[in-house]
């Protein structure tokens, strides 16, 4: 590989941390979903980098990554459906303001 494996792993780790920070800090629910997507993408980069450098059948990591992409898309779809349903009732999408057990 023209770029050593560790550099790809460090790139994945940086994107993971940025996504983690976003999940913890964003108020808007859709912002939280975007940060979760960042985490899943960093995992994909890790998987593909490992499969390229360490395995004789590079398709293993790539197939795993395809499954992760599909599951991430599914998670985002359901998450956004919930956000839209919440907006319809409470007229807000900020995580701070949804703090009642029953409305």
């Amino acid at each position: 590989m023209i770029v050593p494996l560790e550099h790809f792993l460090i790139f994945g780790a940086i994107i993971f941390t940025i996504g983690l920070y976003g999940t913890l800090v964003r108020r808007n629910l859709i912002g939280v979903l975007i940060s979760i997507e960042l985490i899943l993408n960093s995992v994909n980069v890790n998987l593909v980098a490992f499969s390229k450098a360490t395995s004789m059948a590079p398709e293993t990591g790539q197939i795993f990554a395809v499954f992760v992409i599909a599951m991430a898309a599914a998670a985002v779809a359901v998450g956004l459906a919930i956000v839209i349903a919440l907006y319809r009732v409470q007229k807000t999408v900020l995580a701070d303001e949804v703090n009642l057990l029953k409305w």
């Binding site: 023209i2 460090i10 913890l24 940060s35 993408n41 980069v45 390229k52 990554a65 992409i69 839209i84």
Partner: protein, 168 residues
């Protein structure tokens, strides 16, 4: 050549930082789209062309469309002046930096089992898609079918949750 790859990585990190800190959600979604395109570029560098095309097609084409639809349906124009982050900024930053330092130290110290033959094996072939297809239907057919069931359940679930209730 390596300069281009490092430049791509640095730009992706910059867009990722913009995606989690911008106040307007629409701009944050657009910066995230740029990150996805950068990651697709990294997949091409790693000789995973099918995965790069699938990433652009599904993530940029479908998932981001969904996210931007949701942003447009739920954002009011007055929200641009609302604070984007809650009070846990400093703890988040501190924890993030600590976690990142730990990860980088571990990555640099661990002896990864790199296979020199593995690297050469993929450069020669241009049948990436064919091998993925064969493996998906022979060795990984069970997760494939389970994924199909899960996606069907997700479609039905999302439609049911987001439907308007009929007036009684």
């Amino acid at each position: 050549m390596q300069f281009a790859i490092y430049a791509l990585m640095v730009i992706s990190v910059v867009w990722a930082v913009c995606a989690v800190t911008l106040r307007s959600l629409f701009h944050s979604a657009l910066c995230f789209t740029a990150v996805l395109l950068g990651i697709a570029g990294i997949f091409v560098v790693l000789h995973a062309e099918f995965l790069a095309a699938v990433q652009v097609l599904i993530y940029v084409g479908a998932v981001m469309t969904l996210v931007i639809f949701a942003v447009m349906l739920t954002e009011r124009l007055t929200d641009v002046s609302v604070r984007a982050n809650n009070q846990q900024i400093w703890i988040g930053l501190l924890g993030g930096v600590a976690f990142l330092t730990l990860l980088i130290k571990v990555i640099l110290v661990t002896p990864w089992p790199k296979h020199p033959d593995a690297v050469a094996a993929t450069v020669m072939t241009s049948e990436n898609t064919k091998h993925i297809g064969i493996a998906l239907l022979s060795q990984y057919v069970f997760p494939f079918e389970v994924l199909a069931v899960v996606l069907t359940a997700v479609i039905i679930g999302a439609v049911v949750i987001a439907k308007k209730d009929k007036p009684a």
